[in-house]
């Protein structure tokens, strides 16, 4: 008997490093290529790439850059894109606070983290002071 798939499996992956401002646009383009591959709708693509842009920018701004893992994942019959942002920056002291609309230590709008969360289907953030921050987001093709 063939097994029914009940776990998220990763089908295809790619790792990019975001070290300078000029890396953001090519990174967004790569995410777009992946999203097109799984036939994600234009609106969902736009939401995903915008969230990716926010997180990539945070990494540059607060952690001096980092790495992103781009994956095509699937859960049963649905396909999605999962992005894992991994940096070795200072970490976030109070994640709950950082996730609030309007909270910013960078004199900005403080929309990046909470906004990115609203734009995707799954959002996970882990951070340790002095070690780094890891944010994982998933957007389903039709989610």
């Amino acid at each position: 008997m063939r097994l029914m798939i009940t776990k998220i499996i990763s089908l295809n992956k790619d790792k990019m490093s975001i070290a300078k401002e000029q890396d953001v646009v090519p990174f967004r383009n790569r995410v777009k290529e992946y999203a097109i591959k799984i036939k994600m709708s234009l609106v969902n693509q736009t939401k995903l790439i915008t969230a990716a842009s926010e997180l990539g920018r945070n990494m540059l701004r607060y952690a001096n850059g980092g790495k992103v893992l781009i994956e095509i994942v699937s859960l049963g019959r649905q396909h999605g894109i999962r992005l894992t942002f991994d940096d070795q920056g200072p970490g976030i002291p109070d994640i709950q606070l950082a996730m609030n609309d309007g909270y910013s230590t960078g004199k900005s709008l403080g929309l990046g983290l909470p906004g990115a969360k609203r734009l995707v289907n799954e959002f996970e953030i882990k951070s340790e002071l002095g070690v780094g921050t890891k944010v994982t987001i998933t957007k389903w093709a039709n989610g």
Binding site: M1, R2, M4, V43
Partner: protein, 282 residues
């Protein structure tokens, strides 16, 4: 040495087809209205052909063997198309079950040693049973696809964007407004705004049963997105009960233009576009 049943099956391929066809045709549940005899025969012949080709003494006891990929593909195709044509699960299952019956009949005639016969029957049953399970799984998958397609169609049908006037769009919303629906409403409304170059959109909610804070939030989002595009969005069809709930729940709609009826929303739109509509004396 045990009887090589796969050889027997290969040898008697044409007999198997004839008998299987007969079994299928005499069955009272045969859906001649949905599939012609010729089609059925062609389908069955292809399946037996591939099955006897793929089968050998080793993979007979290994239903998961990749040798059967082609068989499974064909079976999958058959049950998928049956699901879409409206066959019942029983009718679809019977297709494979009757094959099993036919194959076992042949074995009974050909294998003389009782121990061999039992072993062969067991192995073959297990294999074909596995095929039936796959058939059912794909059948259900086929049905799910039909349901998904219909759901999409319903969502599309239920969000018609109407060009009521040059520069004015109307979108009557019927039923509840959840976040998935809001997404569809926004998308079709904004796309149509671009295509028609309209500056006013009317969202009529007289067909929306209740407006709670979540629905209100969805309405607000739609209005904001419309304004970002450079058009105004008016909400019409606010029934008295809805006005009451909005106030009782403390929802703030003061930023948006609301009108009681589609007619008054339309005259607001005319005023915005500086269009005058009046009766003419004949």
């Amino acid at each position: 040495m045990a009887t090589e049943i796969t050889k027997i099956l290969k040898k008697r391929k044409s007999v198997i087809l004839e008998r299987w066809m007969k079994n299928q045709l005499t069955d009272e549940t045969l859906r001649e209205d949905l599939i012609s005899n010729e089609e059925l025969r062609a389908e069955s012949e292809e399946l037996i052909d591939i099955l006897t080709k793929s089968l050998n003494e080793t993979n007979l006891t290994d239903p998961d063997s990749s040798d059967f990929d082609h068989v499974i593909e064909i079976l999958g195709g058959i049950s998928l198309s049956r699901a879409k044509q409206g066959f019942s699960p029983r009718e679809t299952g019977l297709y494979v079950m009757s094959l099993k019956e036919t194959l076992l009949q042949i074995l009974q005639e050909e294998v003389k040693d009782p121990a061999d016969l039992i072993a062969a029957t067991l192995n073959l049953s297990r294999l074909i049973d596995n095929f039936s399970i796959i058939t059912f799984e794909t059948f259900i998958k086929g049905r799910e696809e039909v349901i998904l397609r219909q759901t999409d169609e319903i969502t599309e049908i239920s969000t018609p964007v109407i060009r009521v006037w040059d520069g004015i769009l109307a979108l009557p919303i019927i039923g509840t407004l959840d976040s998935a629906r809001t997404q569809v409403v926004m998308e079709s409304l904004l796309t149509e705004i671009v295509e028609s170059g309209s500056s006013v959109a009317i969202l009529d909610i007289s067909g929306v049963p209740t407006v709670d804070s979540l629905v209100a939030q969805h309405l607000l989002k739609t209005v904001s997105a419309t304004r970002l595009m450079g058009a105004e969005c008016v909400i019409s069809g606010i029934r008295p009960e809805i006005a009451q709930t909005i106030v009782h729940l403390g929802i703030d709609l003061s930023d948006i233009v609301t009108k009681a009826s589609l007619a008054s929303a339309l005259s607001f739109a005319f005023a915005t576009l500086k269009v005058e509509v009046k009766k003419v004396a004949r």
